[in-house]
């Protein structure tokens, strides 16, 4: 469960202060499917980064499964992030020298999971995402949809409780976009909390709960 109360975040651009988040309070229950929508610069990416512990708020409190993550050190936040949160980015952010399989394995490798256990978990994910025949391809041998499926595989390999997707279909054509959306929704149906940031009205409408942001505020 995610509980945000009175989050503030501002950036200094030149001599102007931009309020990216302005008194944001929000509760997301475990297993929810939430779309965050709004125009560019409305603060939705900032919200996503803070939810994902990639960034810190200037003020306010963030409870993640009853842990006050605002108070944790960077190393502790890294640990929480690796156990509880998976990321899907618009531009995939795959490591180009690693194969699909190695990309999916990477988070387990970084958090020190033994090799045998990793192999089992990765096999399972490749099967689930129908990527078995693409396992030894490098990212630039894959189509956009396949890349995003690899990225989703990497996001869920640690069995996180929350999946944060930032414009997951933004770089995809409509067919692969629909496939990726269906995949994310099926993961949500299995119990994962899904938070999607999107410009795409059609995708937003599919979520069970829509949040709209404007000028750093939830409306």
């Amino acid at each position: 469960m995610i509980e945000l109360s009175h989050l503030e975040k501002s950036f200094q651009i030149g001599d102007q202060t931009v309020h990216a988040l302005d008194d944001v309070s929000l509760t997301i229950e475990t297993g929810e499917y939430v779309a965050v929508m709004g125009p560019s610069g409305s603060g939705k990416s900032t919200l996503m980064n803070i939810l994902g512990l990639l960034d810190r708020a200037n003020a306010g409190q963030y409870l993640l499964d009853d842990i006050n993550v605002s108070d944790l050190t960077e190393a502790e936040r890294t640990h929480v992030r690796s156990q509880k949160i998976g990321f899907v980015f618009q531009s995939y952010h795959l490591v180009s020298r690693l194969t699909a399989r190695e990309n999916i394995e990477l988070p387990m490798m970084l958090s020190g999971v033994p090799a045998k256990q990793r192999a089992l978990a990765v096999d399972e994910i490749l099967e689930k995402l129908s990527l078995v025949d693409r396992a030894h391809h490098s990212p630039n041998q894959l189509s956009g949809g396949q890349r995003q499926r690899v990225a989703i595989g990497r996001a869920i390999v640690m069995k996180p409780s929350i999946l944060l997707a930032d414009e997951p279909t933004g770089n995809l054509d409509s067919t692969s976009g629909a496939e990726v959306t269906a995949l994310l929704e099926s993961l949500n149906a299995e119990g994962i909390t899904l938070v999607v940031v999107t410009h795409d009205q059609a995708m937003g409408d599919r979520a069970r709960r829509q949040l709209r942001m404007l000028d750093g505020r939830l409306t």
């Binding site: 651009i13 990639l54 890294t78 990321f87 490591v95 490798m109 970084l110």
Partner: protein, 407 residues
């Protein structure tokens, strides 16, 4: 993260980004090669100059007739003297306490012939001790017999080149060679050797000193070499020789005695300059190599800011990120530096087999220094950008930002 995984991660970086790996490798190796070759060049020049002035040995004094100034250069090789230095003088000096051996030297150019072949050679008249003092040895046959200075024998030891030119491939030992109106039996052939103090020892003929005196019809010695028993006594014996000869020459001090130290001190300035030059060359090449390695490291690590952000988003701590980048830089730096050292040794080996007179060796401090420098610089300049990127919030690193505070 387990260490086998760290090794795997690094080897994947190095093996799958081959172009980057090769460029880094070459940059570091070139740095090491430059330092080693340039210092070897400088050291080679320095030791060449030293060896040219080192032929005498530290325990040897040269006595030459006439009073000469030795400052400001080499003593003249020919000199007129009112009173000659004689074999009897040499005998007297050899009886001084502390003197190990004395070798008189008479010198002249003469034509020698064997079965119709004629050669003009440098004829040296001396004694058995001459070979010891000048570190000469025969490759075939034997040295001159150990005779008193005033006893002669019609035998000779000849240089390598002279032997080849007179006898071609025929055996020379035992053959009689004509020189002037005398004949000498060849009893030894000198080992192949370079020049000794300006004389080409491959093209000489050495005979007993009295034979040479009668051949050239002169009493005086050209030089007298004196070897002392210990280096501490050198100056003491130098004074004794001057005093003894002054007494024998009716109170007139008409000889000059010089030691290697005295000659070396006159070229000390040159040697000092060479030492500074070598050190300068080494420092400059290290600086250039260092800047090359620094730039390569900073660029290649900075290019991976995004990857650092991604690794952190995927659950790597800053410490893990630093460990990955430092071990990667360390591994390539060690391998590249060692291969650079290998290449410099190969090049030096090749150069040394090509040049006889001058030998190039990279000193140990340059080898060690260049490797340490390469590895430390690679680590430092991998650490700085990796540290900066890993201290960025992951989101900033993912956006490929180079510095904090930029929006």
């Amino acid at each position: 993260m387990y260490w086998p995984d760290i090794v795997k991660f690094i080897t994947l970086v190095l093996s799958r980004q081959r172009f980057r790996t090769i460029v880094l490798w070459v940059a570091i190796a070139i740095g090491v090669v430059a330092v080693n070759l340039l210092t070897a060049l400088g050291e080679g020049a320095k030791s060449y100059v030293l060896s040219e002035f080192n032929v005498l040995g530290r325990n040897t004094l040269i006595t030459l007739p006439g009073k000469k100034e030795t400052k400001g250069g080499m003593p003249p090789l020919t000199g007129e003297s009112p009173r000659p230095l004689t074999l009897k003088d040499a005998q007297a000096v050899s009886r001084l306490a502390g003197v190990k051996a004395v070798a008189p030297l008479v010198l002249g150019n003469i034509e020698v012939s064997y079965s119709g072949k004629l050669r003009e050679v440098l004829m040296m008249g001396s004694s058995r001790s001459f070979f010891d003092i000048r570190h000469l040895d025969v490759g075939q046959g034997r040295l001159l017999p150990d005779l008193p200075f005033n006893k002669g024998e019609s035998v000779c030891v000849i240089g390598n080149k002279l032997s080849r030119e007179l006898f071609a491939s025929k055996p020379a030992l035992g053959e009689w060679v004509r020189a002037g109106d005398s004949r000498f039996r060849v009893i030894g052939i000198l080992k192949e050797g370079g020049t000794s103090f300006g004389f080409d020892m491959n093209d000489v003929m050495i005979i007993p000193v009295v034979n040479a005196q009668s051949l050239f019809n002169k009493d005086g010695l050209f030089r007298m070499f004196t070897e002392v028993r210990s280096h501490q006594e050198l100056n003491n014996i130098k004074a004794k020789i001057i005093a003894l000869i002054k007494e024998r020459h009716e109170g007139e001090e008409d000889v000059t005695v010089i030691s290697q130290d005295a000659m070396l001190s006159s070229v000390q300035k040159i040697l000092d300059t060479l030492t500074y030059a070598v050190t300068g060359i080494a420092s400059i090449s290290m600086l250039v190599a260092g800047i090359l390695i620094m730039n390569m490291m900073i660029i290649t690590v900075s290019q991976r800011t995004k990857e650092i952000g991604l690794l952190k988003a995927l659950g790597a701590t800053s410490a893990t990120v630093r460990l990955l980048f430092l071990s990667e830089a360390g591994l390539i730096a060690v391998v590249a530096a060692l291969s650079g050292l290998l290449v410099s040794h190969a090049v030096l080996l090749l150069a040394n087999s090509y040049f006889d007179d001058i030998q190039f060796h990279s000193p140990w401090w340059a080898q060690l220094g260049s490797i340490l420098l390469a590895v430390l610089l690679a680590l430092l300049f991998a650490w700085l950008p990796a540290q900066r990127a890993s201290s960025l919030a992951p989101v900033e690193a993912l956006q490929g930002k180079q510095q904090k505070g930029q929006a």
